[in-house]
């Protein structure tokens, strides 16, 4: 149920993001989802890719610092209020969210949100109990 996510350290400097993406392009890596956290000094690029271990190695060979972490993917209707419902489930169970990012699934008029709660296992349990559609890694990669 957990989705592997790559976090990449980026200096907040012109061209650094492009450099990372160039490495992925050369390696033929297709990005399923992406988000970036930025501060005035540095950024963290977060990626969902089909082959996280291989992609990590590829990036590390190009001098990037990469960590593999885990997130939860939840599928929902692409309509107002869907995300609020999901967050409501976590809220009720007192589960803190560190960050999230979402994207729209064009074909099916649905959206997917990637969640990173502080306690990931409790998060999955709560979401399942709350009736959310938690999807697997394979589902994401095949999008």
């Amino acid at each position: 149920m957990k989705i592997k996510q790559l976090s990449i350290f980026l200096e907040n400097r012109k061209g650094r993001m492009k450099k990372a993406l160039d490495v992925l392009e050369k390696g033929g890596v297709s990005i399923r989802a992406l988000s970036i956290a930025d501060t005035s000094d540095f950024g963290i690029l977060r990626l969902i890719v089909p082959e996280p271990e291989n992609t990590k190695k590829l990036l590390e060979d190009n001098n990037f610092i990469v960590k593999i972490g885990e997130v939860i993917a939840v599928r929902m209707e692409d309509e107002p209020g869907s995300l609020g419902k999901i967050l409501g489930i976590l809220d009720e169970d007192d589960i803190n969210l560190s960050y999230l990012y979402a994207f729209v699934e064009e074909k099916e008029n649905r959206a997917i949100v990637l969640l990173h709660p502080e306690q990931i296992d409790e998060g999955i349990e709560a979401l399942l109990a709350g009736g959310a559609e938690v999807i697997s890694a394979d589902d994401i990669y095949s999008l």
Binding site: S7, E11, A37, F42, F64, I65, V66, K67
Partner: protein, 435 residues
């Protein structure tokens, strides 16, 4: 006004005789009372009686900061400890500090040379002098204090900090001579403006500044902001403190108090003496100090000596203001910083690669120090708050080591220059050379 016309305007040949007599005496004093000097002179086979001309000084071995540090705390004293009435120390940021000991006579000497300087600045017994140099083990505060009292000024020993209070006192007490470091002076000026004080109304007569490197532009800026001439003070704890050389109204170099502190310029590489007018490392010998005579101290400060006729009437040799160092010491906001200290701090933190770069800038005339550190997988976290915590932690470690707040930036691995040969560890963007 000249404080001691006889000494300051003496004919050079006459002064040289005086210097030689004093040198012979001080070498004898050092040889007979300080084991360090006896060992060194015996090693090169020179006896105090061999000093027959000022040129013979060049035969004597140098004294380095390390020598003085090895003698910590009182090993360089040439008199019984009971005759030492005051001690000061260098900042000691790179290990044990250097202890400087003063007899009553030494304090009189200190008061004499600083009085000469303050008189050059135009200060006299009718003036009120606000001394923002720190009082304590640092020599800056007391040196100025003794000189000012010798002149007969009213001294406000306010020390550094409490900037708003400084402004208030300047205004209320009518201080008309102020002593500060250039960067603190510019900060004072800024605060004065914020507090709604018109610096013109202070009617300042003169400003004395030292303890850090500065540019002619910075002097102009200080003069413009305070509507008063600013004069340079040079000195170092090992030799005495402020008062080794001071600037006269011509504002073109500092007169070295050469009847008490004998200057030489050497090539720091070959250690050969350089002729007048050539830039090199300054070497100083105390000619009259009793408590702790220092022979041929390598200051690591780069400057030039010029024997020129000065419009002020003084015949004392002039040195240019310091524009560089032979080592990698930096002065940031008046504090001595060595890159090795930053390295030491970094090595205390797990997961840090010992690759770093120090960048010193001076935006708005205040020194800023940035340390770039390479991030590593151990340091990296997916959480922004943890990364910021890591950055703060590194900043605190460096602060503990050097006593200054710095700004740490995490950079990507392998982006900083590696120490192949001479790594570019320090980028000093402040410009001290006017050329």
């Amino acid at each position: 006004m000249i404080w001691n016309e006889e000494a300051e305007c003496m004919q050079q040949d006459e002064r040289e005789q005086l210097q030689l007599r004093r040198l012979q005496k001080v070498v004898k004093l050092a040889y007979e009372n300080v084991p360090h000097y006896k060992n060194r002179l015996d090693k090169v086979g020179i006896h105090p009686e061999d000093i027959q001309s000022m040129k013979d000084l060049q035969k004597l071995p140098f004294t380095t900061k390390e020598d003085l540090r090895e003698a910590y705390p009182f090993g360089m004293f040439a008199v019984p400890r009971r005759d030492i009435v005051e001690v000061h120390t260098s900042s000691g940021t790179t290990g044990k500090p250097v202890v400087s000991g003063y007899t009553k006579g030494d304090l009189d000497l200190w008061a004499e040379v600083m009085a000469r300087g303050l008189t050059m600045f135009g200060a006299d017994e009718d003036d009120i002098i606000q001394n923002t140099h720190g009082y304590g083990l640092f020599t800056g505060g007391f040196g100025v204090h003794y000189g000012a009292q010798n002149v007969g000024c009213t001294v406000i020993p306010i020390s550094t900090g409490q900037t708003k209070r400084q402004i208030e006192i300047m205004e209320d007490f009518g201080s008309n001579v102020v002593i500060f470091t250039p960067s603190y002076g510019l900060y004072l000026a800024e605060v004065a403006v914020e507090e709604g004080l018109d610096t013109k109304s202070l009617n300042l007569k003169a400003i004395g500044f030292g303890a850090e490197m500065w540019t002619e532009e910075m002097r102009q800026e200080i003069q413009r902001r305070f509507h008063a001439p600013a004069y340079n003070i040079y000195g170092l704890t090992e030799i005495m403190g402020p008062g080794v050389a001071l600037e006269c109204p011509e504002q073109d170099g500092l007169h070295v108090m050469e009847d008490h502190f004998y200057p030489e310029i050497i090539d720091p590489e070959t250690q050969e003496n350089l002729p007048e007018g050539e830039r090199g490392e300054m070497v100083l010998t105390t000619l009259t100090r009793e408590g702790m005579p220092i022979i041929r101290f390598r200051t690591k400060d780069l400057t030039t000596l010029r024997r020129v006729e000065c419009s002020c009437g003084r015949t004392l040799i002039k040195m240019d203001r310091i524009t560089g160092r032979t080592d990698d010491m930096l002065k940031v906001r008046g504090v001595a910083v060595f890159p090795s200290q930053v390295e030491k701090a970094l090595l205390k933190i797990d997961g840090i690669e010992p690759h770093y770069q120090i960048i010193v800038t001076r935006p708005q005339h205040l020194d800023q120090m940035e340390v770039k550190v390479e991030a590593s997988p151990e340091l990296f976290s997916d959480e922004v708050k943890e990364l910021i915590g890591t950055k703060k932690k590194i900043e605190n470690y460096i602060h503990n080591e050097i006593g200054l707040r710095v700004d740490v930036t995490l950079v990507e691995p392998k982006t900083l220059p590696r120490s192949e040969g001479k790594a570019v560890r320090v980028i000093d963007k402040r410009k001290f050379d006017d050329s």
